[in-house]
């Protein structure tokens, strides 16, 4: 009877160890934090647009169709790396892409876009990072999928890789 009881701590210990081991080997980024804005409305904001002489009003621009929102800056190296996939979203998926330009210089952004191509339908300017805070952004690049009702359905932190591209492509088709 006593021996049987002695097994219990060992079993619990092994269970905990295997849970830790499982979390260690699965493909995950422990510093990635789930967005609190999931399934919530797009934050309200108004911003000046790059290349266009008018304002961007979130209340008018979201809620009509699916939109991919991409926070980027010309000074951000991972943004440069993922740019090819942003272009592919535009070409292959035909989704409208809004690129929010985070704390950037006008001349640098325009040069960056002419060098790499411009897949964005609109580029609202976030000069002081206030729009990013409203979206809960903590490290660019970040990419959101907003459905046709103007509700945030997905957020990805970090550059889009081949694997992420496939995942988001499927989501774009699934999300209404």
């Amino acid at each position: 009877m006593k021996k049987q009881i002695l097994i219990i701590p060992l079993a619990v210990f092994l269970l905990i160890i295997s849970a830790f081991f499982y979390l260690l080997i699965i493909d995950r980024n422990p510093s990635e934090i789930p967005s609190n804005l999931m399934n919530k409305n797009v934050p309200n904001f108004k911003a000046k647009l790059l290349l266009k002489n008018k304002d961007f009003l979130s209340s008018k621009e979201f809620g009509n169709e699916k939109v991919l929102v991409n926070f980027f800056a010309s000074w951000c190296k991972p943004c440069r790396d993922e740019h090819i996939f942003i272009k592919r979203f535009s070409k292959e998926k035909g989704i409208r892409i809004v690129g929010i330009n985070y704390k950037d210089k006008f001349s640098n952004t325009t040069k960056w876009l002419s060098d790499l191509g411009n897949p964005y339908s609109d580029i609202p300017l976030d000069k002081n990072g206030r729009i990013a805070i409203d979206w809960g952004v903590y490290g660019i690049p970040e990419t959101f999928i907003v459905n046709s009702k103007g509700i945030i359905k997905y957020r990805h932190v970090g550059p889009i890789t081949k694997k992420v591209y496939k995942k988001i492509s499927l989501l774009i088709e699934e999300i209404e």
Partner: protein
């Protein structure tokens, strides 16, 4: 031997009393001291989402600076502390609070240590009782 112990104690104490790093820059500081103190208090409870193990009061990351300024602006506009916390957690989730709130999803986190303590006391107690009998 005594000297050695004294040195170790001294080193421990210097660590204990050392001031933590401060990320607040002079241009951010509010003129109103009372408001500035409130801002510092809130900042100490807000996690820097970039560094993740520092508060925005200590961090020198740009996002931490933005949030410190935002908190100060909100205080100047007359927002209450709770309103500022609500504003931040709506956008960044409970993770932005260095101290997790006590609510349904965190009951296990807060209560398990006490439950384990109770189990421990019970085990020791019953063990003692048994060994006394023998």
């Amino acid at each position: 031997m005594k000297i050695k112990a004294f040195i170790i104690l001294f080193i421990c104490l210097t660590q204990f009393f050392s001031t933590s790093s401060i990320g607040v820059e002079p241009d951010e500081v509010l003129k109103n001291k009372k408001q500035e103190l409130r801002a510092r208090d809130i900042s100490k409870n807000i996690r820097c989402m970039v560094c993740q193990n520092q508060s925005i009061d200590e961090s020198n990351s740009p996002l931490a600076k933005d949030l410190r300024i935002l908190i100060r602006n909100k205080i100047k506009e007359g927002n209450k502390d709770e309103e500022i916390y609500k504003f931040l957690t709506y956008r960044y989730g409970d993770f932005i609070l260095l101290k997790p709130p006590f609510k349904f999803s965190t009951y296990a986190l807060w209560l398990l240590p006490f439950i384990f303590l109770m189990i421990g006391i019970f085990v020791i107690y019953s063990h003692n009782k048994k060994s006394k009998k023998i």
